[in-house]
């Protein structure tokens, strides 16, 4: 356990020693802020109009601001993942530090978990950049906090899956650009698949839909905590870390 923590801490240090962590946080903060601004502006405009016309439309912050925002965040986060995971193993393979880790009295699994947890932590920090906006909602209104919590849990779980897959891809190459590029492509594919299957319910679509990491977020976005989705995400994370471990093992046999 303590070895995982040692590796995780070093990993976080090198994330925050380079500008990449801050850039990603700033980028996400800005994009989310922009989304938030648009969503609340429309919301305020609608509620004004509703009042002016004397109709009391049921206006709901959760439904009309937070839910679309969470969906938006889940898409943006999809494309942050490659930036986070691309260096995880590729860089250490390139500089040779992997040789230090792999000849130290730690297991491959401890190395992988340490690294994955560090990437999760950075991802969580990036997501936290959106908290200011959500806090504003609480300051000026009374949104229901439970669906928000569920939404963030969904974002973390979805991120966890993609990060574990990104970690796997990073073990397969010495080149960070390739590692990031392939991960980006995989994320893009998942995103596109979720679009296609939304319009198609025949043939393989339900299967793809079930396997798609993105579609499982929908329930979380609605504030619905379904154990099926949680189990799916957890098993995907497990699967991702498992293939990472296998890849590291084959690294020893190949290189």
């Amino acid at each position: 356990m303590s070895h995982i923590w040692i590796i995780c801490r070093r990993e976080l240090k090198s994330y925050f020693a380079s500008p990449i962590a801050y850039l990603l946080m700033a980028f996400f903060g800005l994009i989310f802020g922009f989304g938030f601004f648009t969503a609340t502006r429309d919301f305020v405009r609608f509620s004004f109009q509703a009042q002016m016309m004397g109709r009391s439309m049921p206006m709901n912050v959760n439904e009309q601001v937070i839910r679309p925002l969470l969906g938006f965040a889940s898409t943006v986060a999809l494309f942050l993942v490659p930036m986070i995971t691309m260096r995880l193993f590729a860089e250490e393979k390139k500089t040779g530090t992997i040789e230090l880790l792999m000849t130290s009295p730690v297991s491959d699994l401890q190395i992988i978990l340490g690294k994955w947890l560090a990437s999760m932590w950075l991802y969580a920090c990036i997501l936290a950049m959106s908290a200011i906006n959500v806090a504003l909602l609480f300051a000026f209104g009374k949104p229901d906090w439970k669906p928000i919590l569920v939404g963030y849990l969904g974002l973390l779980l979805q991120g966890g899956c993609l990060l574990s897959i990104g970690a796997f891809i990073s073990t397969t190459t010495k080149n960070q650009i390739i590692s990031g590029g392939v991960t980006f492509f995989v994320c893009l594919l998942l995103w596109l698949l979720s679009w296609f299957t939304a319009f198609d319910t025949t043939g393989a679509a339900p299967v793809i839909n079930y396997l798609s990491i993105v579609t499982h977020f929908e329930n979380f976005g609605k504030g619905v905590l379904d154990s099926k989705d949680v189990i799916f995400y957890l098993s995907m994370i497990f699967f991702g870390l498992f293939i990472t471990a296998r890849s590291m093992e084959s690294l020893r046999w190949r290189a």
Binding site: I6, R10, G96, T97, L100, M102, T103, S104, W253
Partner: protein, 329 residues
């Protein structure tokens, strides 16, 4: 302490290490010698559990590298060919990280970091970013990293590469001072390095074991004969090379006379002695006695360099024969 039996490591196409067996006893310093691509790094990577052997076995401190890698790793300090450094970390921070990774108790880490920094002469750069260090300093940090947990076995892949002459001497001394408590294998292509720091040498070439012996034995065995460069001139010109050669061959203790290219009527020879014979005085007497001028008489000696080249360039058959001989001794 280290026992390697029939070790073979094959990459996709190349056989990097081919059926190597050797043993290293506790407290010994062993030099691992071979030209580029001989398989030194590969053997070390197997010993450190970085790569699994294709066949054969390697045993460190009683633990097999395949069956018990964790136990092996606990007892090994390893300096890879390129020091495994995180350039974005400070030196002390990095050493602390490695110390934790190797399982040093939390209370002892700071003390150990200071100790190894002192020993490896990097105390003055402890707060510097590793990325900003020169190559030699990086090498020293790499060495500090390898010894921080006071391991039983030290495996050093070219520990003095990139160091300045003064630092090379200091590092050799450091390595020597570590012997006794630690069993050390170091690889190098520099022969003088082996002469200076090692008790035993393992020479490999193209993945095969060429010789394994103590430094003294190897030097004696191969350096037993003396070689002398000789230049002869006739005072009145017109010297017959064959005649001179014949005269030289008659000197007792001479095993072989090689005629070399001469200049301006002078004749040059290289004369090799029989095992353990001192032939220079006799040679001088013979030349002068024949009425010739002796312009030069200089020992060239078979250097360890020559020996090494001889050994590693030997045909595979010869190599196997010498290896067999080495093992029998």
């Amino acid at each position: 302490m280290i026992k390697v039996e029939g070790l073979t490591k094959r990459y996709a196409r190349t056989v990097a290490v081919d059926n190597i067996s050797f043993e290293v006893e506790k407290g010994q310093i062993v030099g691992f010698l071979g030209p580029n691509g001989a398989g030194k790094t590969t053997t070390m990577r197997v010993l450190t559990c970085f790569l699994p052997p294709t066949s054969g076995s390697a045993n460190v401190a009683g633990f097999d590298v395949l069956e018990n890698p964790l136990e092996v790793k606990k007892r090994i300090g390893y300096l890879p060919e390129t020091p495994p450094l995180y350039t974005e970390m400070e030196v002390a921070e990095y050493l602390t990280f490695v110390g934790r990774l190797k399982g040093i108790a939390a209370g002892d880490i700071a003390r150990r970091v200071n100790e190894v920094a002192e020993r490896c002469a990097i105390a003055d750069v402890k707060t510097k970013l590793i990325g900003k260090l020169s190559k030699g300093y990086r090498q020293r940090v790499g060495l500090a990293q390898a010894i921080i947990h006071n391991p039983d076995v030290l495996i050093l892949d070219e520990p003095t590469s990139g160091l300045d002459p003064k630092q090379i001497i200091e590092t050799r001394e450091l390595i020597r001072s570590l012997a006794g408590d630690h069993t050390i294998i170091l690889s190098t292509h520099i022969l003088s390095e082996v002469e200076h720091s090692c008790e035993r040498v393992i020479i490999i070439s193209q993945g095969k074991l060429v010789a394994i012996d103590s430094v003294a034995n190897l030097t004696n065995r191969l350096r037993g004969s003396e070689a002398v460069a000789l230049e002869v001139e006739s005072p009145n010109g017109g010297l017959n090379p064959a005649e001179v050669q014949q005269r030289l061959e008659q000197v007792s203790g001479v095993s072989r006379v090689l005629a070399k290219e001469g200049r301006n009527g002078r004749l040059s020879f290289e004369v090799e002695s029989l095992q353990g014979r001192h032939i220079r005085p006799e040679l001088a007497r013979a030349v002068v006695g024949a009425g010739w001028n002796l312009n030069e008489l200089r020992p060239v000696g078979l250097s360890l360099e020559d020996i090494f080249l001889q050994l590693t360039a030997a045909e595979k058959k010869d190599a196997a024969a010498i290896a067999g001989k080495g093992e029998n001794q």
